[in-house]
């Protein structure tokens, strides 16, 4: 309901246009505008505004509790926002706008919208009762209604792409953490998303397995996939990100190219955080 309030109070077009003018001439794939979210009276997102252009990689950094994971989960409507706007590919997430009124989407419409937004979780969340290949093909077969044969071929191709072609018939419990996470990436890719969200994808991994997952993510970035990555891997952010955003206390403290935010931070809070993780 707050969403409709802010819709009437702040015309959606003008700040959108200013963002576009400031950043790039292309239309952003993801744009967030003054996004607010509270849990039981505690405001965890206090007006986040961001834009990601097609093909860009954005890394969200920040101390735990800064709201970066919550923001990521708002992008595919796993969490409802209390205020502001999030749109992906020009479409409002979780809401439909007809004339000047905003309507809540029903679960099936939200599901349709989520097909274009892939997500990779910290704890992998693979379906334990399915093999690696079945994990990847379940949604294309069941949701997209692609033929089993085609989905299988595509699934094997994706497994090959993440370097696990020989493990198609293994169950998640039989795979290492790094292998599970790479299957999870392949599962997200199988729906041909325009945008991929990563929620601390390497935080639950043994240190020696982190590299394999980051390699896959670097390849994806190089192939032009639009990605938003919540991570603590400063090295990855420096190498792969186009934009680095530092969040703290539910606000964006600093954002810009990695060379600026990571090597020459303007804010004291950013500097303190970077000193503690590097």
């Amino acid at each position: 309901m707050t969403t409709s309030e802010s819709a009437t109070s702040a015309p959606a077009t003008s700040p959108d246009a200013s963002l576009r003018a400031a950043d790039a001439p292309v239309k952003p794939l993801l744009s967030a505008l003054k996004v607010r979210k509270s849990y039981g009276g505690v405001e965890v997102l206090k007006g986040i505004s961001l834009a990601v252009d097609p093909g860009q990689v954005m890394c969200l950094l920040g101390p735990s509790g800064s709201g970066k994971s919550t923001f990521l989960r708002c992008i595919n409507h796993l969490e409802r926002i209390d205020g502001g706007r999030i749109s992906v590919n020009g479409e409002l997430v979780g809401y439909a706008q007809r004339r000047d009124r905003i309507f809540e989407m029903n679960p099936r419409e939200v599901a349709r919208q989520r097909r274009g937004i892939g997500m990779v979780f910290q704890r992998f969340n693979l379906f334990p009762h399915m093999t690696a290949l079945e994990n990847i093909t379940a949604a294309p077969i069941g949701v997209r209604r692609i033929s089993k044969q085609k989905a299988r071929e595509r699934g094997l191709e994706l497994l090959d792409r993440v370097g696990l072609a020989n493990l198609a018939q293994f169950y998640p419990a039989q795979l290492s953490g790094g292998q599970q996470q790479r299957v999870a990436i392949a599962r997200a890719l199988a729906m041909d998303p325009k945008l991929l969200l990563f929620d601390e994808p390497t935080s639950a991994l043994d240190p020696e397995l982190v590299g394999d997952v980051l390699d896959v993510m670097r390849t994806l970035a190089a192939d032009g996939m639009t990605m938003v990555v919540v991570t603590h891997e400063i090295g990855f952010a420096r190498g792969a990100a186009d934009v680095v955003v530092f969040m703290d206390g539910g606000v964006v403290v600093e954002s810009g190219p990695p060379a600026v935010v990571l090597d020459n931070p303007q804010s004291a809070r950013t500097r303190v955080f970077l000193d503690s993780v590097m």
């Binding site: 595919n76 796993l78 679960p107 099936r108 939200v110 599901a111 349709r112 989520r114 097909r115 937004i117 892939g118 997500m119 979780f121 704890r123 969340n125 693979l126 379906f127 334990p128 009762h129 399915m130 093999t131 379940a138 949604a139 069941g142 949701v143 169950y171 998640p172 419990a173 039989q174 999870a184 599962r187 997200a188 199988a190 729906m191």
Partner: protein
């Protein structure tokens, strides 16, 4: 063998000096208890066997009696139909109970409250005597005289249907709670992962949540199936011709109550033993992906045992010794 005779480190060169070589702890009381119980059971068996009040030929005469067998068939049929329908209803109720829809939620809660809160025996009698409450059952538009059809209650619901209805509706309340507990055991991350690849709530339920919940649901449902098989005997109060009713009818003619109770008990024991076989295989099927390797089935175990011919075993033993 080596354990019973402690070997000192200096004497045997092939024994690692770090190995603990100790006399195993003895358990004399286990032997005492086992012998004591064995004597008790044997004497109980002998006293039953020699009891003049039990007519053994009656047991052998009636165990495969056609009337008893028809009772067995009906008992099994009642169990299977009631379990299948009640499981379906139970899943429906559990989903309703967990849904965000307050109407569905309350309806499911009320159902479970009513059917779990009254004794099964009373429910059976109630359905059996429904004709006393409503002599006619009609379908029409409420608050008008318009009726599509009207039928005598006792014609529509004979004793068998009433019994089946009572067992099914009562069991659905219990099954609903079991299914609900299974669904609650599925990690929240599974829903999120399913939603993130664009699955709808219904698709997520059938493809992701229920298959995982089954692992938790099946053991208590096995329990419920065994209970159901035995609870069918309660239908004797409304004269459904299942196993126990048939047995009481026979014993009221030949006055061999104890013998027929033994016949019936043998059949119930046999049937409940059979029921544990499908449960084992269902548990195994839904447990896939949970363990890294599935345990072998009993058949696989037997096959593995046969592969270990005595010659093979002896060879491995001699290899161990050397």
């Amino acid at each position: 063998m080596t354990l019973t005779s402690p070997v000192r480190t200096g004497q045997a060169s092939e024994v690692d000096p770090d190995d603990i070589v100790a006399v195993p702890l003895r358990h004399p009381w286990r032997w005492f208890l086992a012998v004591f119980l064995l004597i008790g059971f044997v004497s109980l068996g002998i006293s039953l066997w020699q009891n003049d009040n039990i007519n053994h030929p009656t047991i052998t005469e009636f165990i495969f009696n056609p009337r008893i067998l028809s009772g067995v068939v009906l008992t099994v049929l009642l169990t299977v139909v009631a379990m299948l329908v009640s499981t379906f209803l139970g899943v429906l109720l559990a989903v309703m109970r967990l849904s965000n829809n307050p109407v569905m939620n309350t309806l499911a809660w009320l159902y479970v409250w009513a059917f779990r809160g009254t004794p099964l025996l009373i429910q059976i009698v109630f359905w059996g005597y429904l004709g006393l409450l409503y002599a006619q059952i009609s379908l029409g538009i409420p608050f008008t005289d318009f009726t599509i059809f009207s039928v005598d209650t006792n014609t529509l619901i004979p004793a068998l249907t009433a019994g089946l209805l009572a067992l099914t509706l009562n069991q659905a309340a219990y099954s609903a709670e079991i299914v609900r507990s299974g669904m609650l055991s599925v990690d929240e991350g599974q829903y999120e992962a399913a939603y993130s690849v664009g699955m709808s709530p219904v698709f997520t339920l059938f493809k992701v949540v229920l298959p995982q919940a089954m692992r938790v649901i099946i053991p208590p449902m096995g329990n419920e199936t065994i209970s159901m098989l035995k609870n069918t005997s309660l239908l004797s109060v409304i004269a459904v011709l299942e196993l126990y009713t048939v047995a009481t009818q026979i014993s009221s003619q030949n006055l061999r109550q104890v013998e027929l109770l033994l016949v019936v008990s043998c059949w119930y024991l046999f049937l409940t033993s059979i029921l544990s076989i499908p449960q084992y295989y269902l548990e195994r099927y839904y447990g896939r992906g949970k363990a890294r390797t599935l345990p072998p089935t009993p058949f696989q175990r037997v096959r593995a045992l046969l592969r270990h011919t005595p010659i093979n075993v002896r060879r491995t033993e001699s290899q161990d010794a050397s």
